[in-house]
């Protein structure tokens, strides 16, 4: 976010913690069939890892994982993966999102549902992760000289003194 008061402790600790958080996020998505968790929580954890790197190192960090321009297209790919899984079941004659209707040779119906749930969780995780990263990038994309709209520019970092309070807002 800022490079003004970055210490070496924050840099090293965030670089170590972000990978652990992302690994735990992948674990939560994949292991969501057996333990608490799922696509939403895992996607939020993955986004937390990326956001931690960007808070510590600035907006240019970890662009290789989720770049700023590709976040919204990746989110739409995730949502379309979810909706497309439902449409595939519709093509085989089942109801919408009825994964058991897809005939896979050699696999009985509950296992098909198992992998359908896994595919859907991947879609949710991708969409949620990229949307949260995109919101964070958009919130920080305003340059600092036009931060405070409608206020004096020197109010931006310190609390407003008592005598300068606007009497109209009280």
């Amino acid at each position: 976010m800022t490079h003004k008061s970055v210490s070496i402790i924050i840099l090293v600790a965030s670089r170590a913690l972000a990978r652990v958080i992302q690994l735990f996020g992948i674990y939560v998505i994949i292991h969501g069939h057996y333990s608490p968790g799922g696509g939403f929580q895992g996607g939020a954890l993955l986004a937390a890892g990326v956001i931690l790197m960007r808070m510590a190192y600035g907006r240019e960090a970890s662009q290789s994982e989720v770049s700023t321009g590709a976040a919204i297209p990746l989110a739409s790919i995730g949502a379309l993966l979810f909706a497309g899984t439902g449409l595939i079941t519709l093509a085989f004659g089942g109801h919408y999102m009825d994964y058991g209707a897809v005939p896979v040779p050699g696999i009985e119906e509950p296992i098909v549902r198992y992998y359908g749930i896994l595919l859907v969780e991947f879609g949710i995780g991708l969409a949620v992760m990229t949307v949260l990263v995109a919101i964070f990038d958009d919130m920080l994309s305003v340059p600092p000289e036009e931060r405070v709209e409608g206020g004096a520019p020197d109010e931006s970092s310190d609390p407003v003194p008592v005598e300068r309070r606007n009497p109209m807002t009280r």
């Binding site: 976010m1 800022t2 608490p36 968790g37 799922g38 939403f40 929580q41 939020a44 954890l45 986004a47 937390a48 956001i51 808070m55 949260l132 919101i135 964070f136 919130m139 920080l140 305003v142 931060r147 405070v148 206020g151 109010e155 931006s156 970092s157 310190d158 609390p159 407003v160 309070r165 606007n166 807002t169 009280r170």
Partner: protein
């Protein structure tokens, strides 16, 4: 023994809620709101709703707090009332 943990959590919930409403520094208010959310997640887990508690901890304490901090960084830290 479970009710003792829950009473401690309820008291912590009340304390953090009143702190988040009464403090004048917006950054401290955001931190208190994050603590409120995390206490809420612990309360959900003590009630047995593991999934809800996990979602609350991840989204409320992990993502929304970061968004509060980003918004405070982009605007001003003091409050007018």
């Amino acid at each position: 023994m479970n009710w003792l943990v829950e009473i401690v959590l309820y008291l912590l919930l009340l304390t953090t809620a009143l702190l988040a409403l009464s403090v004048r520094d917006l950054l401290a208010g955001a931190a208190a709101a994050t603590a409120f959310t995390f206490t809420m997640a612990l309360l959900f887990i003590s009630m047995g709703a593991i999934d809800v508690g996990f979602t609350e901890a991840v989204v409320g304490a992990g993502i929304v707090g970061v968004y509060f901090f980003a918004a405070i960084y982009q605007t001003s830290r003091g409050t007018r009332d």
